[in-house]
Symmetry: C2
Subunit: 230 residues, 2 copies
Amino acid sequence: MQETYSEFHSIFSVDCVIFGFDKGELKILLIERGEEPFINHLALPGNIVGEDEDLDAAAGRVLNELTGLNNIYMEQLHTFGEVGRHPQGRIITVAYFSLIKVKRHELYPKIPFAKKAEWRAFHELPKLAFDHSVILEKAYRRLQRKLRYQPIGFELLPDKFTLTQLQQLYEVILEKEIDKRNFRKKILSYGLLTESGEKQKNVSHRAARLYRFNKRRYNSLKKMGFNFEI
Amino acid sequence: MQETYSEFHSIFSVDCVIFGFDKGELKILLIERGEEPFINHLALPGNIVGEDEDLDAAAGRVLNELTGLNNIYMEQLHTFGEVGRHPQGRIITVAYFSLIKVKRHELYPKIPFAKKAEWRAFHELPKLAFDHSVILEKAYRRLQRKLRYQPIGFELLPDKFTLTQLQQLYEVILEKEIDKRNFRKKILSYGLLTESGEKQKNVSHRAARLYRFNKRRYNSLKKMGFNFEI
């Protein structure tokens, strides 16, 4: 096909970076590997792409086989193709990225390639298999950047949430304290939150109002050139 | 390596999307292919990645061989891995993206894989080889998005430019007219432009002031949380 370099055949894989948020902690969905190399190590859910499989389809299939999750919207994060990133040869991996609501989904691996799938606290992780810690770090940086200028935090929260939960999500992911009054003023000024009419239940402190994110309003504001920014 | 799917070996390539801006037009750097398939067709500068070559290095090497450009900073755009995107088999391509100043660079392909390399007007292109029109469209959307919230237009302009040139760049890339007074007020308010002390030469109308982009000031503002937005 070309003169200077001989054709070289590589294996392709996909790796899925799935973030969640639960009990005030940022979570990441990992598998415990059931096969060598890195057997028993934690890893991103990932595997080889099939010959007749589109990349995006492969990401969905692999995530489903290793965790049981289905119909998760994922976007491409980055392709990692360093020589030597995989001990068994040249394997180039396309990393995908998603934010989901933890509680909606049950986890159960369908193939022994994963011994189990579980949510782990992002800020308390050991080193992952292969270069997965590097991939995860890149995904986290994207999450931090996007959180500042897109209302993506709502993907991680339950459908109904308090303003305190929302602020806590920003504080945990951006790793900084946020002034409560400014935050509430700004977030409410956008008109993107709808009061659900309900309050928290079974809490020891005064029950706070529960809000919903108004996606329809966000989409129509966006069309008019509205910029979300925290 | 896994049970459900047999290992499958693919070729992978890199493709480079290089934008420029010249004489009021958005330009894209293309090659005329010297080999089958799609011989004599216009294509993005792209080729196969070497076995012992990191992805980013491959993008730089391929761009250099096909166009003569050297030391161009490129970021990853997206990886295109649809089954059937290449008539000769499964070839997955990692697309890279860059903005450069047209006039600084001379073009000369070093291998016959490219018969020539040239800047073409982006808005007057025929269909490109392979799925390169799809790749280019995705790059253009990223360019439009980024232009709104990052001062990247300066990468495309000469070192010294008039406010009219800057506005024209925004109008051409965003495909809309921009109010002159608002635009100037906003862009000057950021304090990112420095007067060069010079004016245009050899123009039939009144010579306009020439400005420079103050990158150091942008970087220090950014650290303090400044948001650029047009």
